[in-house]
């Protein structure tokens, strides 16, 4: 943006909207600053992962270029190029879903900006430009990260096209694919906002955004599995006509002058898909533009069934926090998104492991290594325990209307604290222990029969221990404490988390495997008993602490001086 543009209303508004895309409205000033640092850390991580991909693919392509014929290379190239297009596409779709609360001018924009002497056209134009800049930032980062890989796979002995032309065609096709991903999300949101009855628009958009986030995360194993689809692509599989990244791989091929009927068909699908989302997205903007006043001034209704809550028998203050937690998770798109999005990561990781172990093939009756399958089914509880637990905790830690927490501050009582904090304990236990058991027990049962119960007891034991780890310093009523993300650097957190996860999952998986394969279940049951006793002792200690220490309503940076907390 030129200095002159920046000073004009359009420039000022665009900057305002651009900043708003990073603002979830739940952070204090310190929290917002910390969040920007987390984003920068993630971008750096993304570029590092791009370089890691080059390293991972270098060996594969060295072998392909050394092969006697160019056919294996040509097959692999199609699949890997599809992956190279799919990854930035996925990133752009993910960040667009994450900011989908700000895709269109909203009620605040309407109330604040419309009384000013600026046109509606300017507001909509600035919003679109801010969105384009935001998406552009991530598109650029994604493509910068992936370009070294494209250069590596495009140049070599069996290369079909000139490497430079290959990179240019990739950028055109892949950037178009990312624009398609962006506009598809905009179109879906636009349709919802413009055409849903006003009373339900808030709840419905929140639910659909959470569903989109979950679906996108669950798609990741399929995206990373694209390189395994080289044969299907070479054989012109009809199934891949349903995969948008493959459409844009077709565009890339056509741009490089390949006139194969399959590529032409893929390119046509890309053109039709892109045209459709452009029309729907622009149409939604146009509809909102024409009906701005009516669409924006909607009421936020709740279903009448929900409004009648059940009569409770437990402590009233505990019931109050329980119902407050449930209502917030039901209605807040951000909290729902965090819990569903992160949980989907765990489920995706588990799914990926099962798919790669050959479980589906085994279920179809084919002969597959039983050891591989056993390894997979005893390992999947751990990503589920780890990630679902973190998802629940992260969601509960994010505040909603932080300044409204005075009502909890004013009514805090030593006698009620444990019951109030129990809402957090219940939700984290559900996600970190009960759901993983419920998801893995049937799969383990199919493979190992009744001995799966012992393995599930082990899963529950680890789950309860993880609950205690997550609640170690927890003294917050859900959603009421200010939050500062990124108290440790992203790289440090990722490294620590991964190391811990690898150690625990390796040991845990080995014990579970022993419980399914070993001659006797007794040693495993002893381990389960030990785990349970430790978890119970930690729980008792935590609850005693809850009774003694006051609630926390303001998040703080970790102190340089770490107290020993001996008393």
């Amino acid at each position: 943006m030129s200095a002159r543009f920046r000073e004009r209303p359009a420039g000022l508004l665009t900057r305002h909207f651009f900043r708003a895309l990073f603002d979830f409205g739940v952070f204090t000033q310190e929290g917002a600053d910390a969040f920007v640092r987390v984003i920068i850390g993630l971008v750096a991580l993304l570029i590092s992962l791009g370089l890691l991909l080059v390293y991972m693919y270098a060996k594969k392509y060295a072998a392909l270029f050394a092969a006697a014929t160019g056919e294996p290379y040509a097959q692999a190239l199609l699949a890997d190029m599809t992956l190279a297009i799919a990854l930035p596409m996925w990133i752009v779709a993910l960040v667009t879903v994450l900011v989908s609360h700000s895709l269109f001018p909203d009620e605040t924009d309407f109330r604040v900006l419309m009384p000013l002497p600026i046109g509606q056209r300017l507001v909509f134009g600035a919003k679109l430009l801010a969105l384009a800049l935001f998406a552009g930032l991530f598109t650029l980062t994604g493509h910068v990260a992936i370009t070294p890989l494209v250069m590596r796979i495009s140049a070599g002995r069996w290369a079909i096209d000139a490497p430079l032309l290959g990179v240019i065609a990739f950028w055109i096709a892949s950037v178009t694919a990312s624009v398609f991903a962006l506009l598809a999300i905009v179109a879906m949101n636009g349709l919802l906002i413009a055409w849903t009855p006003q009373r339900h628009v808030h709840a419905l958009t929140a639910a659909v955004r959470s569903a989109m986030l979950g679906a996108l995360v669950l798609l990741l194993p399929f995206v990373t599995a694209l390189p395994t689809q080289s044969l299907e692509l070479a054989q012109h599989s009809r199934l891949l006509l349903l995969a948008p990244p493959a459409w844009f791989m077709g565009v890339e091929r056509v741009l490089l002058g390949h006139r194969d009927a399959y590529f032409l068909q893929l390119a046509q699908l890309a053109a039709v898909g892109l045209a459709s989302v452009v029309v729907i997205a622009l149409g939604s903007y146009a509809t909102l533009y024409r009906r701005f006043d009516r669409v924006m001034l909607h009421s936020f209704g709740v279903s009448r069934r929900r409004a009648r809550r059940c009569v409770v028998a437990e402590n009233p203050a505990g019931a109050a926090v329980r119902d407050f937690t449930a209502a917030t998770l039901r209605r807040s798109a951000l909290h729902q998104g965090v819990v569903i999005g992160l949980s989907a990561c765990g489920v995706a990781l588990a799914m990926n492991t099962l798919l790669r172990s050959g479980m589906v093939t085994w279920l179809r009756g084919f002969d597959v290594s039983h050891r591989e399958i056993l390894g997979a089914i005893t390992w999947i509880p751990f990503p589920l325990i780890g990630v679902l637990g973190i998802a629940a905790r992260a969601s509960l830690a994010l505040p909603i209307e932080p300044k409204a927490n005075w009502v909890f501050r004013m009514t805090e009582r030593d006698a009620f604290r444990v019951d109030q904090l129990h809402a957090a304990e219940r939700m984290i236990t559900l996600f970190a222990a009960l759901i993983p058991v419920a998801l893995t027990l049937p799969i383990q049962w199919i493979v190992a029969g009744p001995r799966a119960i012992v393995a599930s007891a082990m899963t529950a034991g680890f789950g309860f221990l993880w609950v205690e780890a997550l609640l170690r310093d927890w003294r917050r009523i859900p959603f009421t404490c200010s939050y500062m993300p990124g108290k440790h650097t992203v790289a440090q957190s990722v490294l620590t988390g991964l190391s811990l996860f690898l150690i625990v999952s390796t040991i845990g998986s080995a014990i579970e495997t022993a419980s399914l394969r070993g001659p006797s279940s007794t040693p495993v049951l002893v381990i389960v008993a030990v785990l349970s006793v430790v978890a119970l002792a930690l729980r008792r200690r935590r609850r005693r602490k809850w009774r003694e220490m006051p609630l926390v309503f303001d998040d703080e940076w970790p102190s340089d001086v770490q107290l020993l907390q001996l008393s």
Binding site: V311, A317, A320, F324, S332, I400, A404, M410
Partner: protein
Amino acid sequence: MLEVRALTKRYGALLAVDNISFTVNRGEVVGYLGPNGSGKSTTVNMVVGLLEPSSGSIALDGRSQDEDPIAYKRRIGYVPEEPYLYTHLTAAEYLTLVGRLRDMPQHRLDRDVPELLRLFLLWDSRYSTMAAYSKGMRQRVLLAAALLHNPDLLVLDEPFSGLDVNASLLFRALLGMFAADGRMILFSTHRFDMVEKVCSRAVILSAGRLAAEHRVPDERDGHSDSLETLFVRVTEQEDYRPVARQILDVMQHA
């Protein structure tokens, strides 16, 4: 009786409230006046137990706030200056939340919450979350929440902001009857007219110190401008007419 004695609050080097003492007797509505930054909200936050005083004491009917903070808070109803509430809840859900946090039995909430919604003219919006409410409607929810548990002391921070004429009249009558019932109201505001209409006494604050205490004359006395005059004098407010003139001059030169 609410007794505030030598109350002081320091934020590092800044002395926000300096050695303030006043009382609110049963049956009394005491206005708490002061210019912006005079320490009104800080005092209110200490009185309701959201802030801890640096020194001094607060006692309700002879029992110190420190002695049993929980029992003290149970006897207070509070309406904050800004309508800070959980806007993703409906008014009924919010009132139920507050009632349960105050340990009210469920059967009483089932009886009182719908009744209060009707009386505070919120019944028609009972299925809407408060995100769709106007400021006045949110203010009514906060007042209902403050009264729900039948408190002895009501602490109000600008409770009339955003209310329409009918709601203001209703609240004035309500506050008068609440005090007449032998309970206490501390009423922090910028509005002299409201203090004169609602309060029996006014405490005036300036730069964190108590500047004056003033018995509000009955409207029938014909001294309705005396509080404003006193306020300007004790808080050393300047004559604003030259400043107003300067503002107009700036506008006209633009």
